[in-house]
């Protein structure tokens, strides 16, 4: 099935200038995700803002995504965190990082953050450092990978995507337990 991305469908309606980016990323293992993240938290997006920055050939659009921190899992994120990402939309112009996670207000995610402000997408493994939180049919909070597949086995992350996403999604509690086990902490 071929899909036209909605943002670009919209762009085709108007005389816009847009910039898109794509990355090729080696997916990190779960151990890499946990060990390299400076902070890990579950949060809810409260604001997304984009603006032009830089001069000359370095001029680009940057986006600032603010989260209300619902649960700190590693590090000390405080009550809110603002991530600085490359790309976004300002007026009629868009600069899109194809593989970078796209955020909108209300999204609930677990994020593995590194190098915020100095890395073009400040997540460990770029798109692989974002996990969606969603309620399943029983009202339980479960974890999905960045591309929306149910995460079933953290030990297969970065190794076998099919095995990592085959079956029933694990709960956020199970996921956080696995993170804290790797990080050397235990859940309260």
């Amino acid at each position: 099935m071929k899909k036209l991305l909605p943002s670009l469908l919209a762009a085709s309606t108007f005389a816009l200038v847009s910039v898109a980016l794509a990355t090729t990323v080696i997916p990190p293992s779960f151990d890499d995700l946990v060990s390299r993240a400076e902070m890990i938290f579950q949060g809810t997006v409260t604001d997304v803002r984009s603006e032009w920055t830089g001069e000359g050939g370095q001029r680009h659009i940057a986006s600032y995504v603010t989260f209300k921190v619902d649960d700190a899992i590693k590090g000390n994120p405080g009550a809110k965190v603002t991530l600085n990402l490359l790309g976004g939309t300002v007026g009629a112009e868009t600069m899109e990082v194809t593989d970078a996670p796209k955020f909108k207000v209300g999204d609930r995610d677990i994020l593995f953050v590194e190098n915020n402000g100095t890395q073009f997408v400040p997540l460990v493994g770029i798109m692989h450092g974002r996990f969606h939180v969603q309620k399943d049919e029983n009202g339980r909070d479960v974890v999905l990978t960045n591309d929306g597949a149910p995460l079933t086995d953290v030990n297969q992350l970065g190794k076998d995507k099919r095995a990592a996403t085959a079956g029933r999604a694990i709960s956020t509690r199970e996921f956080k337990q696995a993170v804290q086990s790797r990080a050397g902490h235990t859940l309260p």
């Binding site: 099935m1 071929k2 899909k3 036209l4 991305l5 909605p6 943002s7 670009l8 469908l9 919209a10 762009a11 085709s12 108007f14 005389a15 816009l16 200038v17 847009s18 910039v19 898109a20 980016l21 794509a22 990355t23 090729t24 990323v25 080696i26 997916p27 990190p28 890499d32 390299r36 830089g54 000359g56 050939g57 370095q58 001029r59 680009h60 490359l86 600069m95 990082v97 194809t98 593989d99 590194e114 190098n115 100095t118 890395q119 073009f120 997408v121 997540l123 460990v124 493994g125 770029i126 798109m127 960045n146 591309d147 929306g148 597949a149 995507k161 099919r162």
Partner: protein, 476 residues
Amino acid sequence: MSCAYLTSADAYILEGASWPRGSVVTFQLGLGSAGRTLIDGNTSWDVAASPAMNAWDKVMAALQFNANLGAGSAAASGDGVNSIVFSSTIFGQTFGSQTLAVTYWRSSNSRIVEADVLFNNHQAFDSYRGPLRFGSNGFAIGDIRRVLTHELGHALGLDHPDQHGQNVDAIMNSVTSDRETLSNDDINGAQSMYSAASAPTPTPAPTPISSGNPTASHLANISTRMNVGTGNNVMIGGFIVSGSQSKTVLIRVLGPTLGSLGVVNVLADPMLELHDSRGAVIAANDDWQIGSQVAQINASGYAPKNPNESALMASLAPGSYTAIVRGYNGSTGIGLVEIYELDSVPTRFSNISTRGLVGTGDNVLIGGLIVNGTAPKNLILRAIGPSMAAPPTSLAGTLSDPVLELHDGSGNLVASNDDWGSSPQALAIAATAYRPSNAKESAIMATLTGGSYTAIVRGANNTTGIALIEAYDLDR
């Protein structure tokens, strides 16, 4: 906002923008020298990566990539230049430790107007064929060609199928894998935007064009056969194009074809690079049937018989050029490089030369040339060895005492020389600008009628080493 879905068995994903149909998208390929010999035998990132463009070109009718190899360029969005470069940052920010490359493009009204590919120079890259290879750290070694193939897919307007719920074998999946060539899904994706390339249309064989002056003679073809080694012992052929106009040439390298003619230990898979006088790679080919020139090479009448052999066509401005022949994956064996003129403009070859390792038996250095025309052609042939040990070349392992023979097309010995100073032609040789600088080197002056000739360089007393064979046109 809404989504539009097209029902199809295909899994490819379109990013929603594409180049105008009929575009020739020229990239400044500025990845530069690898500074070492890569796994596949290349020494230039640009040469190693450029077949990625050919792979896409082969399947599309309404868009073609073009590469300016060795064109160093810093990538910047909005400069109107399509660049492929190594970089340590992207817009001043780091890539992240596991990002291999980033592609970005600008578009207007869903029409792409510029694309840049940035390779993360903090990653370990190499160039190799086959399954992924892994470094001692357990991470895959980035294969420059397959990563560029993927990134060019983005530059065409393709997204990652696996990031959109698709499960398909594709170079466009978001992670690098054992797949190094385009899958059917990748091809279908490209062709959905740029149509399928049709089979090459047979074109008539070129009609010989008479020279402006029917009696003037010139060097029309040059060739060298030798044992191609590695490192300093690869085959290096040089030639000078003299005149006021550009000259169209075809350069090819044969290996397996020689085997069918009874030569043993042939170079099984030759690779060809063409350098300009600054040393920049201006064209390259590994397998001649992979590339955008297949139809033209077929039409030239000089297409190699074996698909592993190399060929390229180029229009060359007057100047000096060097063709370098290596074996794929560092392989060695006897290879033959040939340069043909494909036009009749007054611009001519005025010098030819080949440097390589001179062995014994079948592994001596053999150079061929064709004199076209009815008027006699005055030439000087040289076999250079020991002087290359001195600066500026300072080459180790040179042939200490080369011996030169000139044969006609029937194999008859026309002339021979050891030590040019002992030749009856010594005074005449010394009067030219081409007097060898070492007494042990050899030279022959000859007036040749139209036809083919062969020059052979051996070591005196079966000695071996690196030698240079040269022919200069004394009439130009």
